[in-house]
């Protein structure tokens, strides 16, 4: 009976000891498996929730005080939530944004014009949003988020559920917008192409902890100890015992893909070339998705049993 009135809740630390600084104009990718704490961190930065411990400063504001002066300078776009009015054309919602953010006429016209051109949605502005496809809607959501020329853009899976063409178009828009306006972008995505195409820097969060902060390239160096070597043999000269060369990943006609330890790649490739007639060879990193999932597995193995553990929740963030 007691449980009816006094429920017990288990306290779960969603983010724990995340510590980072982002410089103006940076484009940072935020990676992690589902439930890692990415969205929680974005919500803290957007002022929707506040951490039990720790400090956060964005543009010298404390986000959860939700000062209008702060709210005018950032946008948080969530791929799974919509801001536009469902029954009205996007142009109406844009006008509302214009007033809410007190955007000047000139700036409003310019940004709306440029972005709808860039995303090729100029002729959709006056159609009720409910009649549009998911991709079209997402593009318009992105425009709505950029109308007030935010200095910081938090994007939570902006390309989720979109086809490749729409994804590419949103990516291109973000890149151009970032270059032209020096806007700072922090973005989460499950699509590695988004991250690879946009972000020079990647932060990886796992079970609420930051386990990597640096270029995407470093993740590959750190978490993959092998490379994929693809060999093409001329007709009929395929060696019999491929296993002797290394771990065979795939055989496709005359083409063989081997997995070789990173440090042995040069030496073994040399041996291969000298011993066999090889018509083509290429050395590649393993697919980034594989590296990432390896990294998650590694992180899960290393994490203490009762994690996310007991350290202080510190979402310190400062900017210059």
């Amino acid at each position: 009976m007691k449980a009816l009135f006094r429920r017990r809740y288990k306290q779960v630390r969603a983010v724990d000891g995340i510590d980072f600084d982002i410089e103006p104009g940076e484009m940072v990718g935020f990676l992690g498996p589902n439930g890692a704490g990415k969205t929680t961190t974005l919500k803290i930065l957007g002022g929707l929730i506040y951490p039990t411990e720790g400090t956060v400063r964005v543009l010298d504001f404390v986000p959860w005080e939700r000062r209008n002066a702060y709210r005018r300078q950032f946008a948080l776009l969530m791929g799974q939530k919509n801001q536009l009015w469902w029954d009205l054309p996007a142009a109406e919602s844009f006008r509302l944004h214009k007033e809410i953010y007190a955007i000047e006429d000139r700036q409003f016209d310019r940004v709306q014009g440029e972005l709808s051109e860039l995303l090729q949605v100029s002729d959709l502005l006056n159609q009720p949003v409910r009649e549009l496809s998911l991709g079209e809607r997402m593009k318009l959501e992105l425009i709505a988020a950029l109308l007030h020329s935010p200095r910081i853009l938090f994007l939570d899976e902006p390309t989720i559920g979109l086809d490749v063409v729409a994804q590419a178009s949103i990516r291109r828009c973000l890149r151009e917008y970032n270059q032209q306006n020096q806007v700072t972008i922090l973005l989460t995505s499950h699509y590695m192409q988004d991250i690879a195409a946009l972000c020079d820097r990647v932060m990886v969060i796992h079970q609420g902890r930051l386990i990597h902060d640096g270029p995407l390239r470093d993740i590959v160096d750190r978490f993959s100890d092998y490379k994929l070597v693809t060999l093409k043999f001329p007709e009929g000269s395929m060696p019999d015992r491929l296993e002797a060369l290394g771990e065979v990943v795939k055989v496709d006609g005359p083409t063989v893909t081997l997995r070789l330890p990173r440090e042995a790649v040069a030496e073994r490739a040399g041996r291969l070339l000298s011993r066999y007639a090889v018509s083509d060879i290429s050395v590649q990193d393993p697919p980034i998705e594989e590296v990432i999932s390896r990294m998650y597995a590694e992180a899960a193995r290393l994490a203490p049993q009762d994690s996310p553990a007991t350290g202080p929740v510190a979402a310190r963030r400062s900017r210059t």
């Binding site: 005018r72 939530k81 009205l88 509302l96 809410i100």
Partner: protein, 267 residues
């Protein structure tokens, strides 16, 4: 201020999308009145009395007609539901991210909804009131008319504050649907929407006529019915004002407390 003006205009545009549906619904809303009138005819005949609860049959019919007007101002369909749904499914987020005040936003929205309603419903109301003209009192004096307008505007604000406050419950309870249902039923009864509060036994009536609900519907209706003298009308308006201020303050407090809680459990 201008941003809430645009909220208002956008809400107007949104409402107009559904104008046909709206027009039909307005007419349909008068149908229950016919059965109510017939029911009261039977009650008056059966009891063989000329007055029930201090109202003659003719006045009883016009009471229900004027209740429609009071409700047109004071009712806030779906406000509490919308707010608690925003809280539960994260719709609140977008208002917290933008430099806008959620409650002021909703108020602008509701003013728009009401204005659209008045414009669209004017013709149906005129038709019904003309058909029922023999039940109605004559045109009120200018003074009563003025006080009626004030009482109706306050009824609107009171309805907004009551329902807004109830919607805030969403911060504390995940599912408020069944509670809202009970609340709506209680409001229907306690506001005098169901029947005039003068029919209640005296002790009960004394309590009920101090609750804010009575000032949402019952008293504004009595003013429209020209049943109150000037002193009473002024008293009603003052009590309305007090309730509006008290409930608006309570809503604000609930909002800021609730928001802390909301933030703590995950936005």
């Amino acid at each position: 201020m201008s941003k809430y003006w645009v909220v208002f205009r956008v809400a107007l545009a949104e409402r107009l999308v559904y104008r046909a549906d709206f027009f039909i619904a307005t007419f349909l809303r008068f149908i229950p009145i016919i059965t109510t009138i017939l029911l009261w005819r039977a009650i008056y005949d059966g009891a063989d009395r000329t007055e029930v609860g201090g109202l003659a049959y003719r006045q009883m019919v016009s009471y229900y007609l004027f209740v429609m007007i009071s409700r047109a101002f004071g009712s806030m369909p779906r406000l509490a539901t919308d707010i608690s749904a925003d809280i539960r499914d994260g719709g609140l987020r977008k208002y917290l991210l933008q430099p806008i005040d959620y409650l002021a936003y909703h108020l602008a929205l509701r003013v728009a909804h009401k204005l659209i309603y008045f414009v669209m419903a004017a013709a149906p109301y005129a038709v019904v009131f003309w058909l029922c003209r023999r039940f109605l009192p004559g045109w009120p004096a200018g003074e009563t008319l003025g006080l009626s307008v004030i009482a109706l505007v306050l009824a609107f604000l009171l309805g907004f504050a009551i329902n807004g406050l109830i919607g805030m419950l969403g911060f504390w309870f995940l599912e408020v649907g069944s509670f809202l249902h009970v609340f709506m039923t209680a409001q229907y009864f306690l506001s005098g929407h169901m029947f005039p509060l003068s029919l209640l036994p005296e002790q009960v009536g004394q309590v009920v006529t101090y609750l804010p609900f009575a000032y949402e519907t019952y008293y504004p209706t009595l003013i429209l019915l020209q049943r109150l003298d000037p002193g009473e009308m002024v008293r009603v308006i003052l009590v309305q004002l007090v309730w509006v201020v008290v409930l608006a303050a309570a809503t604000r407090i609930a909002w800021s407390r609730g928001l802390r809680r909301y933030a703590a459990f995950g936005g």
